[in-house]
Symmetry: C2
Subunit: 414 residues, 2 copies
Amino acid sequence: MKKLIGAALLGQSGGPTSVINASAAGVFLEALKHEEITNVYAGIHGIRGILDEDFYDINQEDLEELERLKYTPSSAIGSVRYKLADPSKDDTDYKRLLEVFKKYNIRYFFYNGGNDSMDTCNKISKFMQKENWDVRIVGVPKTIDNDLNGTDHTPGFSSAAKYVATTLMEVYLDATVYDIKNVTIVEIMGRNAGWLAAAANIPKSLGYGPDLIYLPEVDFNIDDFFCQVGELLEQKNAVVIAVSEGIRSNGKYIPELFNENISKDAFGHAQLGGTASILAHKVKEKFGTKTRAIEFSLLQRAAAHLASQTDIDEAYTAGSKAVLAALDGLTDVMVGFKRISNNPYKIDYTLIPLETAANIEQKVPLEWILPHGKGLTKEYNDYVLPLIQGETKLEKENSLPRFARLKKIRVAKK
Amino acid sequence: MKKLIGAALLGQSGGPTSVINASAAGVFLEALKHEEITNVYAGIHGIRGILDEDFYDINQEDLEELERLKYTPSSAIGSVRYKLADPSKDDTDYKRLLEVFKKYNIRYFFYNGGNDSMDTCNKISKFMQKENWDVRIVGVPKTIDNDLNGTDHTPGFSSAAKYVATTLMEVYLDATVYDIKNVTIVEIMGRNAGWLAAAANIPKSLGYGPDLIYLPEVDFNIDDFFCQVGELLEQKNAVVIAVSEGIRSNGKYIPELFNENISKDAFGHAQLGGTASILAHKVKEKFGTKTRAIEFSLLQRAAAHLASQTDIDEAYTAGSKAVLAALDGLTDVMVGFKRISNNPYKIDYTLIPLETAANIEQKVPLEWILPHGKGLTKEYNDYVLPLIQGETKLEKENSLPRFARLKKIRVAKK
């Protein structure tokens, strides 16, 4: 195979995770080792930075700071939510990307993101092939939602699941401390797939609640919900509930469902907005108990201090495997994981066609979900427990995280 | 000094912290060592359990599980928010307490709580003296608010401060990732004292935001706030702001200011929360930017996985010192800390009259607070940094916290 000589470019896209930078570290550190790769660039704010020729020069970074990226949350090179048009309708952006790729001799393009990013990768790849620009395009998966198709799981999910499990254990101990009736509702990310909210099942199996868990895979019935809460309030003082932000009743998200009430609340009442807040308000109205809504918000995807070392290692290796695959002549693929065994936990790294990975959401199997919010079957715990193992090796300085400090030197525009 | 033979009783009160059980461990493990102490009891849900003769028998617990209490968040024996009446007006509860103390021969009473609990201790002590029941009463401080008078700091605060600092570093990296204008407002606990919200100054000094910090010690002016936010939005895309839940404008809490209903607890304290949401809504209205409100909620006081080992050790020792002081014949005091030096960090344990500790709130010195939300002076960081040092020795099992598992055997009612 003829060696392809040129620059490598990485972009990050979508919502950050606590290990997306571990994948970036894998791409950077692997790419820097190979002489075919003349330069290593990072597109600032993903596609946005590429369209603007706005790159960091990774060759100028210290290797030890790049190593520290493994333990640094969020997207160190900036992220973006920018959807490329369908190229058959408007190919302006694609032409511009081709121009930039040619100008900087980009021959290796890595894009680190979720479903939409894999779709973006795929469209760019098809366009470049049509225009005969020889560039190898490999997707590096990330999403706390764990909904990418064709892979056993996705980097970012495992650490978020560990955060959810650990934090819920702590919240449960706090929320059950008083001798009065009270209901705590915790909201966990996941628009359409409940993988992350399902991580609430780990503390539940250990005796640390939550009492009820609701996922978007199952229609949310408010009457059934009230019935479950009411039964529990008869048995105990404190009820703890985990809900996915994506639960829907007849296709309507909870904030949509109670739209009238929301708009009545003038200036940003605490009850406004979040699914947990609205449900807490409804429970208070119905049962007159003290209620509290907790949103894990950005914390669940940014908590590098609580990341799973398994996740960090896999995210890093996924980045490095992407570079090796591209150097091997592969393109139009995403790195994925295939589980070989659970005990001992073992995976193989695979390469999945971008078309398979993009735009299909992998959801929690319905047969794993118990009815009436009662949690999940053993299969879910068997699936998730190996992923959260291992404590992060994040370095501390003055007992605070010592995150990567990149120089962020911009590449001079050509 | 004549030895006082009898049972020891511990109660926990008020909002939990991640180290309040470390103090309980200190009380229990010390009390179990001394033969003057015939029994070690825990009052279930504080005063409530004492009034109801509802005790756990600590003598029946395994010592290694009691050791694990050091690393277990929240109040293991249950907490309460119950206000004793002024004994000159209604001494029913006091008479009942005396009856219970006599019935179980309670000669050592330890109460683990904040300002209100020290006031409770003080009232009980005075009543017992008047009735000639010889009991030694020692307060063990706890509060994440750090507002107890007469002590350099309070167990629980240091770990919460470490949580706030670490989590804000992570949130800052996540919140500043996009190339669009956005404002993130983080709400931190602290009703009247801003010690904990001020911990946002630690990441700020390290270059991890937040850009603005608002404490309850300084009147919150919404126009000045908008002015600061507006200036920052001209300079950068992402603005991160930390607010104490207790900030007030002309004496009115933010939710009050915008006509929300605020419920009050048994002590007449406003149940806050929603300050960040309301301000985020106002900012969105004013500047049209994307906004996000994050409440650290229970997480900041329950996050044992991120506790400061300094705090754990001090909380434990405070419990043990309380027992030793009582055995030495002292009563009507609270254990406190006196700082000897910052570098190396060194404290002495002191004993403070309950009257000094109770009902006076220690606030952040005004001269440490910079105007216009610009943060705090170096004095604050010098004060707080030694307190957050040391990583918790919390044991893990399957990469999840292994918290104490108490038998919780109830004492037979006499």
